[in-house]
Symmetry: C2
Subunit: 390 residues, 2 copies
Amino acid sequence: MKKLNIGLFGFGVVGEGIYQVLSEKSQLQTHIKKIVIKDPEKKRNAPAELFSIDPNEILNDETIDVVVELIDDADAAFEIVKTALNKGKSVVSANKKMIAENHLELIELQRKNKVSFLYEAAVCGSIPILRNLEEYYNNDLLNYVNGIVNGSTNYILTKMRSENQSYENALKAAQENGFAERNPTLDVEGVDAVNKLSIIILHAFGRLISPDDILKKGITALKNEDFKYAAEKGLIIKLIAGCAVDKSENITPIVVPTFIEKSKTLGLVNNEYNGVLIGSDLADEQFLYGKGAGRYPTSSAVLSDISALRYNYKYELRKGIKNGFHGEYFAEKKFYVGFKPGLDLDKSTFQNIEESYQSKDYEYVTGTISLNELKNSGWLENPEISVISF
Amino acid sequence: MKKLNIGLFGFGVVGEGIYQVLSEKSQLQTHIKKIVIKDPEKKRNAPAELFSIDPNEILNDETIDVVVELIDDADAAFEIVKTALNKGKSVVSANKKMIAENHLELIELQRKNKVSFLYEAAVCGSIPILRNLEEYYNNDLLNYVNGIVNGSTNYILTKMRSENQSYENALKAAQENGFAERNPTLDVEGVDAVNKLSIIILHAFGRLISPDDILKKGITALKNEDFKYAAEKGLIIKLIAGCAVDKSENITPIVVPTFIEKSKTLGLVNNEYNGVLIGSDLADEQFLYGKGAGRYPTSSAVLSDISALRYNYKYELRKGIKNGFHGEYFAEKKFYVGFKPGLDLDKSTFQNIEESYQSKDYEYVTGTISLNELKNSGWLENPEISVISF
């Protein structure tokens, strides 16, 4: 097993946690040689001589073979990771935005430089979803991946349902418990889930898709009336990130609030937990479950990746890298669309209407919509309109 | 990707299912060349020229590179697998008894002959537990594996609790639904779970342990009163196979009915489902969940193994193979021990007693017992005595 010399970028809660574990567990045979930070004045729980504000102290150090990148700024992270890979260092990162936006280039750099670039921590915290998609579902017969991949929104939705809290209070509780950022936009608008889904889609189906081409609706448009509708039907609302592939190899990548039955597997996933269902012709339906948000799950996934580098593990992407999306969606789904009266909703967007409800306070329509029509409707971006999939 | 020529032993429900899938999915590039069966008279859903009753038609055919072994008889299976490995063929098997009893020899044969021997289907049906233990938890910091690994007993226990059925009726329902064998002894006495646990322990901890050294209590001694006790305390009873490793590398392998809280993760595993919790210093607690009993899960796991052979996957057992057990258990646990009055139970087996209950119909004692004492007590083998772990 290889002994690793590590250069660490970032010393926030995750970085510090990793430093502590690696210092204590000598059997891992890893050694943090240098830690690059932005603010040299801040007090740190590690020897002062470890720290530097100069990235080159890591990037130009030939004895450092692994870079662990844990900084917030996606653009700066990309520069660091690119340089590290080009200098023949393996890289572990948890930066889903940076990866989703530069996936192909990063994979090509990894291949060209014959190093490893691992990022299990970027998707579903401590759940080994990428490793499983790489190793176990490496066949042509994967049908779908459906998951609750964002712990913050799942925590908020759970509190809203089980404790009847308002969105605002549930968000506050999530922030107080460390499950949501102070600026929660990326989470609650579904951006984070979209980034994760685009990473999953490459490992699951060998399809490269830009986050911009994934249909997206967050949880901020949901109204009390929508939860009431769900409760009446014995359903719960979860933010599900999903992608199915049909027999003609068309994919339907979408992040959208979704009604599910409480007793269904994804209904078991509550609070800050994540869970992913993997459906395959060969392997039946599989379910992976674990903590998705918070300090510890991210640290643990990063540590697992570091551990895997000791035996030169790398993502092989055996399913290839095909262009994932050609500008059109070839599926239709049943949706619920809710809104306040007075909003002039173009109901011809529905292929067929199943239910239609009006009162002086609220209206909703349920029925089938093609995903192309849904995209063109503008409803996904409209904060006044709830769109919930069945 | 390699094209595979397969020789199949056994054409029961799993064998036939695999034949069908491989015939339909040409993209898998696998081809079943010969199927060896016992009874040449039986009608089969495949061309007659595929069948033979002579094992050598597969074993001596140099163009066959993969043997898929799906027969019931563990001894005959062992001979087939040994010969196949020695002839340089890779092998996929679902025969947990055969593997648990001959694990070391089989692994040595695999290494010596530089072939693959895969058996994901032998443990927890379609859940990729071995693959995960091999690939993701390949570090020195795994603390425990706790699982519901037998679908038949989990189905029976679920029915007994949720529908208040008697053991006999629940067993009958399990048999009618294909989740229990006509002769259910191996399942209900915990033998099947023990075999699976011994396989898990090697992949999880790199420790070789004979099934005979795993403490074992099945579900047949459980009485109504035990379920009543559980209900009163808000607990449910599950047959849990578990192994923890302590800081001195002592392991505590045990299969025993266990009280758990309904809301705990393993409490979510009902009916024929299996679920495994993996605890590690690095990777937080992970949970893998899927179908454990029945035709389809076994077939799907076998097919996944076949698929993995296309890229030469093999178990590396990077944690090594150490002798797992030195005749003593170094742990103690809290147990509930229930029995009918009149049975002269030696209570000095308990290190300390927490509760003690007597009525004219039933008695129970709860308290801490060292696993060594438990083994020596004879209670595990006594069908009159319920032993349930907390």
